[in-house]
Symmetry: C3
Subunit: 267 residues, 3 copies
Amino acid sequence: MIRPIITLTTDFGLSDHFVGVMKGVILGIQPAARIIDISHGVQPYQIADGAFTIAQAYRYFPKKTIHVVVVDPGVGSTRRPLLAEMAGQYFVAPDNGVLSMIFAREDGGVEQAIVRHVTSERYFLQPLSRTFHGRDVFSPVAAHLAAGVTPAKFGKRIEDYLRASFDKPTHTGKRRWTGIVLKADHFGNLATNFHIDEFPSIRTHAFSLKTGTKVITRLALTFSESAPGELVAIVGSSGYIEVAAGQGSAAKALGCGAGAPVELTIY
Amino acid sequence: MIRPIITLTTDFGLSDHFVGVMKGVILGIQPAARIIDISHGVQPYQIADGAFTIAQAYRYFPKKTIHVVVVDPGVGSTRRPLLAEMAGQYFVAPDNGVLSMIFAREDGGVEQAIVRHVTSERYFLQPLSRTFHGRDVFSPVAAHLAAGVTPAKFGKRIEDYLRASFDKPTHTGKRRWTGIVLKADHFGNLATNFHIDEFPSIRTHAFSLKTGTKVITRLALTFSESAPGELVAIVGSSGYIEVAAGQGSAAKALGCGAGAPVELTIY
Amino acid sequence: MIRPIITLTTDFGLSDHFVGVMKGVILGIQPAARIIDISHGVQPYQIADGAFTIAQAYRYFPKKTIHVVVVDPGVGSTRRPLLAEMAGQYFVAPDNGVLSMIFAREDGGVEQAIVRHVTSERYFLQPLSRTFHGRDVFSPVAAHLAAGVTPAKFGKRIEDYLRASFDKPTHTGKRRWTGIVLKADHFGNLATNFHIDEFPSIRTHAFSLKTGTKVITRLALTFSESAPGELVAIVGSSGYIEVAAGQGSAAKALGCGAGAPVELTIY
C-alpha cells in the first residue's frame, strides 16, 4: 500500500516545460506515484556530472525507489535505454555511462546488477519523438514499472552496458597522485576525486594539495573553522576530499571548476 | 479516492518565499492536494512565455488536473481572474492571454471551453492584497475547487475572455514566411513559431531558415547527428521547428532569443 | 490519517545532490511524509535571508507542519540543533538566529514557544558528518518527528536559544527613520524593513523614501499603476514597504540590494 516513489535527475533546468511534462506523463500512467526531484541542474550534456549527482543520492532512498536519470546528448540516436536493478532500487536511464558510478559501487558485489535493454515500445509514448525521450521513453517506462509491470517485460537482460571509468587519481610519483575536480558545488566547494577511503593518511600525515596556483596544506574538520577566505582541504559529506574557502567560494578564489587538475603529495 | 493534482506555473522564480506560500495556502485549504511544479522560471511578466509553457505541458496530465498559471503583470488592477474548463481539465489564471495557446487549441472544437469570471470573494484569502494574487486568489480558488466546490460557485460564465493571438508566421512572399522565435530553451535551442503541421514540406523540400545573420538549410532528425557547433533545423518535441547547434547553444551562437525574427523560404 | 507535511528551506541551491539527499533521508525514515520545497535559493550562508523566507511562509501551512530550515554556516561547530514548537507547528533548524523572525512574532504571546536542544543522537544519521547536518541531523529529526516520536524525546527544553534582533528602523530625526533593504526579490522589488503596521501614516501623509541616489515620494497601490520604469513605494504582500519600478527591476535601477540603507521621512 506504500505509494511508489519516482525520482528525477536531469540536465533540463527549471525554466522550460520539460520537467513538468515528465511529471504529467508519469501521473497520467500511474496517478499514485510520488515524484521527487533530485536535481534538474546537472550541467547540460555533462554525463559525468549526472553520474556524480545520482551516485551521491540514491542510497538514501527507500528500497524499490525508481530513479529516472536523463542526461542524454545521444537522444534519438542508437544509444539504448536501460532499466537497471541494483541495491534494491530501480534505475531508468540512457546507456551512456550516467549510471557508471553506481555500477562501480554496486555491481559485481554480493548481488549483481540486473540490467535490461528496454525495447518494449508498448511502454513508450507514441508517436515517439527523436528529441525528448525523457518524455517519451524514460518517464513512461518508470511509470509503468511503478504501476506493477515486471522488469522482464521491458526487455532482455544485457551484459555489455557502458561502464565508463570515471577518473580515478593516478599514481604519478613516489608519494604523489594526480586527480581532478569532479564538481564545483553551489557554495563553490571543489569536490576532488580523491576519496578519503583510499587516502586515509591525509588525516594523519602532512600533505600538500595543489589546485590552480595554490597549495593547500591544512585539513579542516568543519567549514566554520577556516578563517574567512582561507583555503583548506576538508572531507566532504560524500567522502571525497574537497577544497573549501572559509565562508566563500573556492571555485572563485582559484578560478577553476569541474575537470581542473589536482595534485596530492603525502609526506 | 484519487487525490487531486494541482500544478503551478509562474514567473515567481525559486529564490523567494512566493512559491512556498502558494503551496502552504493550497494545503491549508485542501490538505489532500498533490502539488506539482511545472515551472517557476517563466520570464518575469512575459505572458507569451507563460502561455507557451503551460500549453506544452497540460495535455500530459490526467483528467481533472487543476492548473494554476500566474504570470500577472496586471495584479491588483481590473484584470479578471478566470476559471476555465477545457480538455477535461481546469485552469485558474488571470484574464491576460496566458491561456491563449490552450484556447486556440481546445476552444471551439467539439467541446467548447467553459470560462468563468471568478468573483466569489469567499474563496479568496482575506485581507486581499493588491500585489500577490497567486497567494490570495489563484491558489485558494484552485484549492477550494480541489476540495469539491463546483465551478459554478466561483462566478458567472463569460465569453469575452482574452484570446490573444500569438504570433503566427505571416506569408510575406511567394514561398516565404516571416515568423519569430517563441523561446530559447535551457539548452539554447530556439523554438520558432513555425509548426511542422503547417509546414510539413520542410521534410521533403529544400528550404532556408534565416535567423540572425545565419541561414540554415539542413533538417536534422536528432540533436546528436549535427556536428559540434553546426546549426541545424530540427522538429522539436512540441512540433515547432527549432534551431539547434550541435552540442552547443544556438541562442549563444546566433545571439538571439524570444522575439527574434525568423524567415523561412521553401523551394 | 492525514500524511505529515515536511517543508524545506535551505541555501543549498538546486544544482547539486544536497536537496535530493535530504528528501531520500526523510522518505527512508517516514515513507508517508509529504515533502514541500519552500525555497532552496536562500543566499549562501545568509541567515537573515533564510529567516525572512521562512517567516513569510510558515503561517500559511496547516497546523502540525514540520519546517526544516537549514542555513548553517556553523555546521559541525558547537552551534546547537533546535526543535521548536510555535504557532501549532514545528521547526527544526540550527540555533543561529534563522528562526528569529518567527520567535519575534510568536514567542512570548499567549502561547510561548517550546524550544528544545536536540541531543538524542539515536535520531541522527550515523556516521555523523561535520559538513552536512541537513542530511545527518535536521532531515532525520524531522522525519522521526513526522513518524510519531514525541518532541521531548529529542532533547531538553532550553531558554537561551538565539533571538537575533533583525534590523528594525531606527529613529534618526524628528520625522526621520533609517532602515535597510531586507531583500531584493526575483522581480527586483526591494523589500525594506519598514512595516506598514508601524508606519501606517505613509498611506495618508506626504513622505520621502531615499534609497541609493533616488528619492521616492509616491505610494502606488498596485505594480501595474506605475509607469514603465517609474520608481514607487508599495505595500508588499508581507506588509513591508517595498520599492518597485514599473514593469522593471528596482534593484537594477538603483543598483542596490539586501543591506542597502533606506531613509524615510514623513511630513
